[in-house]
Amino acid sequence: MEQMEIEKDLQTRELTLNMGPQHPATHGVLRLVLELDGETVIKCTPHVGYLHRGTEKLSENRTYIYALPLMDRLDYISSMSNDVGYCVAVERLFGIEAPERAKYIRTIMSEMTRISSHIIWLATHALDIGAMTVFLYSFREREWLIDLFEMTCGARLTVSYPRIGGVRCDVSREFLDSLYKFTEEFPKRIEEYETLIDQNRIWLQRTKGIGVISARDAVHCGLTGPTLRGSGVSYDVRKHEPYDAYPFVDFEVPVGENGDVYDRYRCRMEELRQSNRIIRQCIEKMPDGHILADDAPDLDMPPEGRKRLIPDMSLSHACISLSDECEHITPAGEFYSPTEVPKGELGFYIVSDGSGMPYRMRFRSPSFVHASALPRLCKGHMVADVIALIGTIDIVLGECDR
């Protein structure tokens, strides 16, 4: 009788564990509700929305140009890519073509962002799994890139450097020299990171065979970017729907085989090398010329969708009246424009009613889609692997919650 009662008390039950939103390894304010059987995850439910700032709604109240600084705040560690993606989208809507030089500058900037974002990913991912040294070393290289951003546009993180129809200001000679020196140095640094973790048995045990997702499942989940390419699907917006200067440069799209955490890590490391290659080519091929298209709208574009105010000799006239030039440049309609950001495919779906402000704007942000794949990835793994899985899908909650 007593034995029975003791056994009744000892009966195992599922445990619900609330992970986050203040957990340091969830890369922001992601909340996961885990149902555990012992240490095995049976079910994982991600909750998002703790960092919701209403960027989509805010951009409805601003003209296309004023909405640009908001895009920095989507994915705050790769702000330049978001801006470029937004500018490409609006340029496609307006039918503006950026000048060659601006295109090359934007490509360089996007790839610099890709490197700095992947470096941060590597740093935090390795730190989560337990390798601390990589974290310290990778911030050294990131500092170099961020200094270069500051040299060009005066801000280190929230850059708002691209502009609809080009970029805001030209890059200097020293910028290009310093960046070229970086590209010479950087492959050695990648080798350093690889020396630290590539063959490390702890790293291999924590990453190999964890979070396997087949190519078919990955496509069905809507994964993009390195997370998808780790499963062996060669899909890259830069190759399939080229924008900016990507058609003029030569690069490869690295793909993995098994679709586990380790393959995705290999993919990203290879992408660092390819980005380095793209930057080198862009610097070598950089053409001269203007950096802003002639028909680009001015910064103070009126909200009615007219192109610009005429800069007049009499200052007061130029400032007060909205000028006689009534050239509408925003066509009505809706369209979707994808770009490849470090995390995956960032798409802008814009519904335009012909005015200078979007009627509705929606972002297809990779982090949000990737977070939705977490339940499938986590199922059947240990609690400790959940940390590795959050790292491998590379989410930034600013972009996820928008």
Binding site: S172, L292, S316
Partner: protein, 189 residues
């Protein structure tokens, strides 16, 4: 499994390689900076604290109350009041809420007379929120603080006339803008 693999496994070769790298880095020169003691100079054109350029002729700000900056501000943190006399606008109140500002630098870029500037000052944390409401006097004081720390004789902000953009797109005031002379007060001993 070859002999090499076994040796790798027993002697922790890959971990030893990693440790060799860490020990090598230990004797290298550190890349970090002891911040409050060693300060970092921002690059020219850094978008920091706002200031009104003090006109050397009038000793006041150059703002003409065209409202462009308040229109273009994405976070709507600039408030301007003016009165109009004989077709001329006279600035009465100008306020920037620095806590709402996103430091995009659009206001400095759009200003037709180069009156507003985002200076390279980045250390201005304070305990009270009132100190971040920059009014006219405060903005001019910011300029004085900034210009006294400058080492050069002239100052020209990069976003007043961005390089590479066709000059025809800009209003006359910006086209003719020349670098602003900085008066350095001589130290009285």
């Amino acid at each position: 499994m070859t002999l090499r693999d076994i040796a790798k496994k027993i002697f922790f070769l890959e971990i030893m390689k990693g440790l060799a790298l860490t020990f090598r880095t230990m004797i290298n020169h550190p890349v970090t900076r002891r911040y409050p003691k060693v300060k970092r100079d921002p690059f020219p054109g850094f978008r920091g604290r706002h200031a009104f350029v003090r006109d050397s002729e009038t000793g006041r700000e150059k703002c003409v109350a065209c409202l462009k900056c308040s229109i273009v501000c994405p976070s709507r943190c600039i408030r301007i009041e003016y009165k109009e006399t004989e077709g001329e606008r006279i600035l009465e109140r100008y306020e920037i809420e620095a806590l709402r500002c996103v430091f995009c630098g659009y206001c400095a870029e759009v200003c037709p007379v180069c009156a507003l500037v985002l200076t390279e000052v980045y250390e201005y944390a304070d305990y009270s929120r009132e100190h971040f409401l920059f009014d006219r006097e405060r903005l001019l004081k910011n300029w004085d603080d900034f210009s006294s720390g400058l080492k050069t004789d002239t100052y020209f902000n990069k976003f007043w006339r961005p390089e590479g953009i066709d000059i025809k797109r800009m209003p006359v005031g910006k086209r003719l803008q020349e670098p602003i002379p900085i008066k350095h007060e001589e130290k009285v001993l």
